[in-house]
């Protein structure tokens, strides 16, 4: 089992009544912030990641959310670059995992390839590159890409990025969204085969693409993993069976918000209000129509969602969700170290999850509690997860070689193979 520490940089000082006065975290007036609040939110976020890097996690993971208060990171590679150098300088064998560089919104895909290559070099071959289609509102409202073009831009950009990493001689690229007379990246990644990860919300087409092409697939527990896990993970492994790919748990990643204290009761006392902040003022505050703008999801997908919105779990109640609601739905796993590790082991074992991304800072949680959460997790939970799956024959092909993985070449599918995925 590989266990990463995932963190976002939320602005931690939004007013108590934020969610009643504002429709969305995507349009928070910056006038609500203070300079000190922004600085400390960002500085603490970086310090938390470094504590994670020093605490035995297999990787530190970050992502991007343009123009939003719940994750003030417009480009995870800025953060990853700092972490790459610092961890290399300290001799820490920890993966640098930018989980969600959005290719659906990127108008400079070659820049993404270049940034990742540089991080891999700076870290001495410890990059775990994550790529996502991108959230609908972010790609379209924040970044002006017509919703119908987001997925197609992702598809084209992905081809270019993979090729730019791989080719050893200059080439021209004549795409629909970008054209380059010469692609000749310097530097190239140190790793011969970068272990590519895609994060999704359960779209079967995305899962099928990951399985066919040899990418890892990440799923996030935001909507309540106890409500959605069975649907999403079963779907993933059923598609794996259909396309004839082995059920190797290492190809599946799962991101979970976790809150640990000495006892279950104390966890609620310490973390409850901050978790409510995280979801009421964060993800739960994004209106559904901005998560799925017209044209962003294929018409068959729209019909499926309207018929059965089960993939979205607790989402519709998130704006008023209580700590108990969040825990019951599995949006959060919280309690004593024993409570948390029992649930995590059980969950990962049940669904064949070989990579856990532990989100240990969230919402308005102050620095000292994030640090406590990280410390308790690394000391009391992490050791119990590490050996999960070591009794199986499975190899981890989605992890850097320097960190014990054996990444394989990504598969370029035939048009027949891809036909069903589009």
């Amino acid at each position: 089992m590989k266990v990463t520490m995932f963190a976002q940089a939320p602005y931690r000082y939004l007013p108590d009544d934020f969610e009643t006065d504002h429709e969305s975290v995507c349009s928070v007036p910056y006038s609500l912030t203070t300079r000190e609040g922004v600085y400390s939110s960002m500085r603490d976020f970086m310090d938390e990641l470094m504590l994670g890097a020093r605490s035995g996690f297999d990787a530190v993971a970050v992502t991007e959310h343009g123009q939003s208060s719940y994750d003030m990171v417009p480009n995870p590679d800025l953060v990853a670059g700092a972490l790459a150098y610092m961890t290399e300088a300290e001799g820490l064998d920890v993966g640098i995992y930018p989980m969600g560089r959005s290719l659906g919104k990127s108008r400079e895909p070659l820049r993404v390839a270049e940034e990742y290559a540089m991080i891999d070099v700076m870290s001495g071959g410890r990059l775990v590159p994550g790529l996502v289609v991108g959230l609908s509102y972010d790609a379209s409202i924040n970044n002006g890409v017509p919703p119908m073009e987001v997925r197609r831009r992702f598809d084209e950009n992905l081809e270019l990025v993979l090729r730019a990493w791989r080719e050893q001689t200059p080439f021209a690229f004549n795409g629909r969204f970008s054209q380059y007379p010469m692609v000749n990246m310097w530097p190239r990644p140190l790793q011969q085969n970068l272990p590519v990860w895609i994060t999704g919300i359960g779209n079967p087409a995305t899962m099928q693409m990951c399985l066919l092409r040899g990418f890892g697939f990440n799923y996030l527990s935001w909507f309540g993993a106890k409500l959605t896990g069975q649907r999403i993970f079963d779907r993933f492994w059923e598609i794996a069976d259909q396309v004839g790919v082995p059920r190797n748990p290492y190809r599946l990643g799962f991101l979970q918000t976790i809150a640990i204290s000495e006892t279950d009761e104390r966890a609620e006392q310490e973390y409850g209000a901050h978790l409510e902040y995280a979801f009421r003022k964060g993800l739960g505050s994004i209106p559904m129509e901005k998560l799925a703008l017209p044209g962003n999801i294929d018409i068959r997908g729209v019909q499926a969602i309207l018929k059965d919105p089960g993939d979205f779990g607790l989402y519709s109640q998130m704006k008023t969700a209580t700590y108990r609601d969040l825990v019951e739905a599995g949006v959060v796993i919280a309690g004593s170290p024993a409570t948390v590790r029992d649930q995590l082991v059980d969950f990962c074992r049940s669904y064949g999850i070989g990579n856990l991304h532990a989100m240990l800072g969230f919402g308005s949680l102050p620095r000292h509690l994030v640090m406590k959460n990280i410390q308790l997790f690394s000391e009391e939970v992490l050791p119990h997860l590490r050996d999960l799956w070591t009794d199986t024959e499975h190899q981890h092909h989605w992890w850097p070689e320097r960190l014990g993985g054996s990444p394989a070449d990504v598969h370029v599918p035939t048009s027949d193979e891809m036909a069903g995925a589009r």
Binding site: Y137, S140, I141, G144, P146, P147, M148, E149, R152, R176, P287, E289, K290, L293, P294, G295, N296, D298, I299, V302, Q303, L306, K307
Partner: protein
């Protein structure tokens, strides 16, 4: 003058365009001079206005690529607004229409103006009903694509509670049909939005001067989606064009103020 046209017999023509990559479905009704009707962003709905036009014209109402039931992915075969304009010109030729009157509503109005700008000799007359396609800094058009569904009626109608508005907004009662209708509308917004998002201005302003036919610009005075100020913006850009402002009316005059709109259009077309 009657306020309600009789329902004509509507037939369908299937025309292959764009080197066989797009099969366009065209609803056809009426008799006489050809009239090309270009529908708004939500897709084609045959309404009393079209039935009225079909009393005097042969109305050809194509469905925008991707909005035809059963063929949603046709939209992926067409990339840019320039391609759309060429595909529609090809459609007009293949339908054998000589100098049709071209009428367009909202997104269809932009398309009609683009078609007439690119091919000045194609139409015999042009009627634009609250078209999109321009951008005034002081009156930015509302972004209907990112508007929550429950707020759309107030954007589209001066009086969303009116019978005309309610009839247009009515949903099928059968749950499956309702899902199909909602998904169809969402997808139609996506298909047309490909050429109008994020800002419904793809440079039409610099092409409008090429329009050389009689043009009528119709606008609802209370249009909350595209401000009535755009009526003058279009009229100033198209030499010799006429403007008809419809009172107590939102973005869809032919539905919300059917009689007034029909009067203005009939008067113009003569």
């Amino acid at each position: 003058m009657s306020t309600q046209a009789t329902e004509p017999t509507i037939t369908e023509e299937i025309i292959s365009v764009w080197n066989g990559k797009i099969t366009m479905r065209v609803k056809v009704a009426g008799a006489g001079t050809p009239l090309l009707y270009l529908h708004p962003a939500a897709g084609l709905a045959w309404d009393p206005f079209l039935s009225h036009l079909a009393e005097r014209y042969t109305v050809y109402a194509p469905e925008f690529p991707g909005t035809s039931v059963g063929d949603p992915h046709a939209i992926h075969n067409i990339d840019d607004l320039g391609d759309v304009v060429l595909a529609y010109e090809e459609l007009v030729r293949k339908l054998g229409l000589t100098k049709p009157v071209v009428v367009g509503q909202s997104f269809g109005g932009m398309l009609a103006a683009e078609l007439a700008s690119t091919f000045p000799d194609l139409p015999s007359a042009l009627v634009l009903l609250d078209p999109i396609g321009l951008w005034l800094e002081d009156h930015p058009p509302a972004n209907w694509i990112i508007t929550p569904p429950d707020k759309l009626p107030a954007l589209l109608f001066h009086d969303p509670s009116s019978a005309a508005a309610q009839a247009m907004l009515a949903m099928p009662e059968d749950p499956d049909q309702q899902i199909a209708a909602i998904a169809g509308m969402v997808w139609a917004f996506g298909c047309t939005g490909k050429f109008a998002f994020p800002i419904p201005d793809r440079g039409l302003r610099k092409r409008l001067h090429r329009i050389s036919v009689r043009t009528l610009v119709v606008w609802g005075r209370d249009d909350r989606l595209v401000n009535v100020a755009y009526a003058d913006a279009f009229a100033n850009a198209v030499a010799g064009s006429k403007v008809a402002i419809i009172d107590d009316c939102g973005h869809i005059p032919q539905v919300e103020k059917y009689a007034d709109t029909v009067t203005a259009v009939d008067e113009f077309l003569g």
